[in-house]
């Protein structure tokens, strides 16, 4: 149950980060997560892919992942080594795609102001807490059991293979 506790350094982004910013349209002929990962968040700033090399957790404002339904956005983040996205809120399709691909996506109210860029944090899914290096603790709503099972199986396809879902 490796995902029950996630630890890592934070890359902080703003509100309304759209999927064109997460992976620009010109890379959409790629499907390999490692290749897509080389361009993760490039639409936001060309320096982002190199910044992501030692960041594992993205902290975002409202409406993360809005816009196009491209699942490439989730694959790019996974390919760049992102383990979790913590946001004030998520756009609907991105959230479903994240779950279906085994990327931990959690709505954490107040996360934007509580966490600094580059700070280390620990996410405890079981205890529904986020602890920051500066000593703050934030809570979040538990992830529904069915969704957590899909995430922990590594996504919808893996969980289908394991017979976890109908």
């Amino acid at each position: 149950m490796g995902l029950r506790i996630v630890r890592g350094r934070v890359l902080k982004v703003g509100d309304n980060v759209d999927t064109d910013a997460i992976i620009p349209g010109k890379y959409l002929t790629l499907t390999d997560p490692r290749e897509l990962g080389k361009h993760a968040l490039e639409g936001l700033d060309p320096s982002m892919p190199s910044l992501l090399k030692d960041r594992q957790i993205i902290v975002a404002g409202r409406n993360f992942g809005c816009g196009s339904s491209r699942e490439h956005a989730v694959l790019a983040l996974l390919g760049a080594g992102v383990k979790a996205v913590l946001a004030e809120s998520f756009a609907r399709i991105f959230y479903r795609n994240a779950i279906n691909r085994g990327l931990l996506a959690i709505e954490v109210p107040g996360v934007r102001n509580a966490v600094a860029d580059g700070e280390e944090v620990i996410v405890n899914v079981e205890e529904t807490t986020l602890i920051t290096a500066s000593g703050k603790t934030l809570g979040f709503k538990p992830i529904p059991k069915e969704l957590l099972e899909i995430i922990e199986a590594g996504g919808l396809v893996e969980s289908l293979k394991k017979g976890l879902t109908k």
Binding site: D18, D20, P24, T29, G67, A91, L160
Partner: protein, 419 residues
């Protein structure tokens, strides 16, 4: 009182009724994939080694790279053609046939159906009183393989439309106005449900544009009721509606609207960089210089969109400093452009006509913008980098506003061209 969305989802899940927030497993009538999101769907299908049980419910489009601008895109097309040669019942639309969302509403979607597509603008078909929403590639594969999908019944956001649209004010201006009010996540997880006497003045083309861009406010879906306008539209595609069976989709009574828009007082609207919800009346940005203008996309590439643009461009020329690109949304529309002569109006005005494609709208090809360029576009998104260079600026507007602006070389109120 249940929303039209709740009523459609109840039928699709075999229930008397369903409540907001309830999770249902609904039968999916049709699934749409295309050459950008579809490759991942095919990988999932191949990995699971399942057979596609009902290939006739699957609609496959080569529309984003139409025709292919690169070797990787050509290889995607090769794979699609080869994969689906094993499924002759699948509805396969090769390059040039049209943008998926336009072709789907040309007689392929019926009121009351549940349709999912691996594309966010699948919300478009709500104009046909259907439940339709965008999903990811993996979920599309799931729907293709199982014929069903889970949905949380969305909370409705009722939008009442009063009055009548003035000339050269379009469906695009209605949805931009709504986005300006509710914001970029104002409808997140919700269903936009349209009602009111103002619907009468909205053509199907206007409604399709509105439903299409509802996703820019985060909406799960949008839905228009089954009224006479829709019935005669469907008859145009040889589909005769049995009202008895579909009476539940008729316009609702006694609903308290969350939002009221008076169409008769609406101005042409413009969404400024870099959000479709960053909206002003055209007057606020009038005079701003542009380098390029685009009319097309699943949002505004319909015949009516092109017709209003042609009306404005007839006998005039596009500014020397501007390139105007016209992309009809389907082969049917391109044919009609040729038949009615509006293609010639565009060419005489100095515009470039491309084959049906998603190209320019998503920065793929057929009109990509360069550094520091300003484009006014009838498409749906003005995010940074959406149509090409991240240094470009995109203004979204109606086809009428785009046409008038292309003539002037500056953002222009189309009502100046009323003849």
């Amino acid at each position: 009182m249940h929303s039209l969305t709740a009523k459609i989802l109840a039928k699709a899940s075999g229930k008397e009724k369903v409540e907001v927030g309830e999770t249902v497993i609904a039968k999916v009538d049709k699934v749409v994939i295309h050459d950008v999101t579809g490759p991942i769907t095919l990988e999932v299908i191949e990995e699971l080694k399942y057979q596609i049980r009902e290939p006739e419910k699957l609609y496959v489009f080569l529309d984003h790279y139409s025709p292919s601008p690169s070797v990787p895109a050509s290889n995607i097309h090769r794979k699609f053609r080869s994969f689906f040669s094993n499924y002759p019942q699948t509805k396969f639309f090769d390059i040039g046939e049209g943008i998926c969302h336009q072709v789907m509403v040309e007689g392929n979607v019926l009121p009351g159906e549940v349709v999912v597509g691996a594309d966010s603008h699948t919300t478009t078909y709500g104009a046909l009183a259907a439940f339709s929403t965008g999903v990811g590639s993996t979920e599309a594969a799931y729907a293709i393989l199982t014929g069903k999908l889970w949905f949380k019944v969305p909370e409705p956001l009722y939008v009442k439309l009063d009055g009548e649209l003035p000339r050269y004010v379009c469906g695009k201006d209605v949805i931009l106005r709504i986005l300006g009010i509710i914001g970029q996540e104002g409808a997140n997880y919700k269903s936009l449900e349209f009602l009111g006497s103002g619907l009468k003045s909205l053509s199907m083309s206007d409604r399709l544009t509105i439903a299409n861009m509802s996703v820019e406010g985060g909406a799960k879906n949008a839905v228009f009721p089954l009224d006479d306008t829709l019935i005669s539209y469907l008859e145009g595609f040889g589909q005769h509606i049995e009202l008895g069976k579909l009476a539940y989709l008729r316009p609702p009574d006694g609903v308290n609207p969350d939002l009221v828009i008076d169409l008769s007082r609406l101005d042409p609207m413009v969404a400024k960089p870099h959000s479709p919800a960053n909206v002003s009346p055209v007057g606020d940005v009038e005079g701003l210089r542009i380098d390029a203008a685009f009319i097309g996309s699943c949002t505004n590439g319909r015949y009516e969109d092109l017709l209003v643009a042609a009306e404005i461009l007839k006998g005039r020329r596009v500014s020397r400093s501007v390139r105007l690109i016209i992309t009809p949304a389907s082969k049917k529309i391109l044919n009609k452009m040729l038949e009615t002569g509006i293609a010639k109006i565009f060419l005489d005005a100095g515009a470039v006509i491309t084959p049906p494609s998603c190209g320019a709208c998503f920065g793929g090809h057929l009109g990509v913008v360069g550094d520091e360029e300003v484009i006014i576009s009838s498409s749906n998104r003005n995010f940074v980098g959406r149509m090409g260079s991240p240094k470009a600026k995109i203004y979204l507007a109606s086809p009428a506003t785009v046409a008038a602006s292309a003539i002037e070389g500056r953002i222009t109120d189309p009502r100046n061209y009323l003849r």
